[in-house]
Amino acid sequence: MNAVSAAAAPFDAERVRADFPILAQQVNGRPLVYLDSAASGQRPLAVLRAVERYETHCHSNVHRGVHALSQAATEAFEGARERARRFLNARSTREIVFVRGTTEAINLVAQSFARPRLGPGDEILITGLEHHANIVPWQMVCAQSGCALKVAPIDRRGEVELERLLELLTARTRLVAVAHVSNALGTILPVKRIVEAAHSCGALVLLDGAQAVPHTAVDVRALGCDFYAFSGHKLYGPTGIGVLYGREELLEEMPPWQGGGDMIRTVTFEKSTYNELPWKFEAGTPNISGAVGLAAAMDYLESLGIEAVAAHEQRLLALATGELERIPGLEIIGTAAHKASVLSFTLRGCHPHDLGTILDTEGVAIRTGHHCAMPVMSFFDIPATARASFGCYNTEADVRALVAALGKAREVFG
């Protein structure tokens, strides 16, 4: 998109908002101001209707069935896989594994890729910004295989210290697992640079894209990553569905993770042979309607234009950052040069938990707590933050409501 066409079609957040029926309600007698999309996005009508249409007209179990509904369900499910392939610009649908979400995707790579091939002397490198889902699975692999976990530190702005990360990348590093965007602070990591550096050391790279996919077009081939994981519900799709992208050569070599139906070719009591990619990694009946909803969410987001959405969110982030910086006693946690639309903060004299309750009584929904990133909280020596995050449906009025509600909190705790 060039500048002229972007200027010609200004982003109409009010119209986008009307696509999300849940946002039309009142909470505690106030219009809902939903600023928690980093935890879970809401679903547009297009997604709700796609799921309803599937459930009303197409549902049966996928694969193997010869009757009409089973074929319709299989087409819908495999069509969603092709949609996800296009979304990520993967080479083949063989590289698109449906999972429950980012957490399951990372555990799959941990158990099926890392555990069998890593051992004492090998290292997995992560960063100090990671969500627990990109820490704990690797700790489990370390305990199982004897390999070691290394952590690249972050600085006071909430950016990864790239020089330190590069120093920690050595011949011992077998896998680098980093967030594309930090969930707690919004920091956008220089993932292309990290991928290049890791590959030059012979290490493979997994990107946790849970917080990135709603804000940026992801091209796994341009990024050069080996694995990419994300969840549907952060992308305005359903919960319980996500995608693991893996390079085909890697997935091919990996043993299945879970055994069961659908992931096999033949079974005897002596020996079973496994299905081909990607079904080798999809034991049991999958979340078919979830995949259908996810595909509809991708259609929806691309119809808005991910760049246009991101530009809109950046305007809101800049506006909110400026407004919050003016509030006495308010400290923004995470001030990286490149951030997604996540604003983490503390207010002196008012614990984030109290802040969350007060804002809720004003109809403003934010997240409070450690955001499944306790090491980030420890780094800043705080127990928790309040976090407002902006999605495609948020407006300047939402930012004003947040600021007004923070004023209320200061009144109560003044």
Binding site: T368, G369, P383, A384, V412, F413
Partner: protein
Amino acid sequence: MDLKDLYRDVILDHNRQPRNFGALTGADAQADGHNPLCGDRLTVWVQLDGDRVTDIRFEGKGCAISTASASLMTEAVKGKDKAAIQALYEQVHALLTQHNAEADASLGKLAALGGVSEFPSRVKCATLCWHTLNAALERSAAAVTTE
């Protein structure tokens, strides 16, 4: 839901100036409490004469409800024996979890926590200190039996 009902003046006061705050040296027992959901942490120290709490202090980081509840608890349990503390906790728990529960006059200042019942996500903030006190008292009992 009325915010003023949750953040009553007594709560705000005890949050700003928690009573019996800071370590108790030479305590007979102590325990740490942690609410991983919100990151609240506190330590409770008790001095005992047999079954009776003669002194109690606490320290920690938490939200206003958690801090005020701990502060009010330390004032309320000082001088009480374990059975009386257990009975008091049951009264507080009912106050925190039952909608429109009438605060019994015997609760004293603890009645200020009555607004919490309208905010179910905050009940654990208010009970953390009681669970921690209970752990400290059990620990002291365990220590007695091993001697």
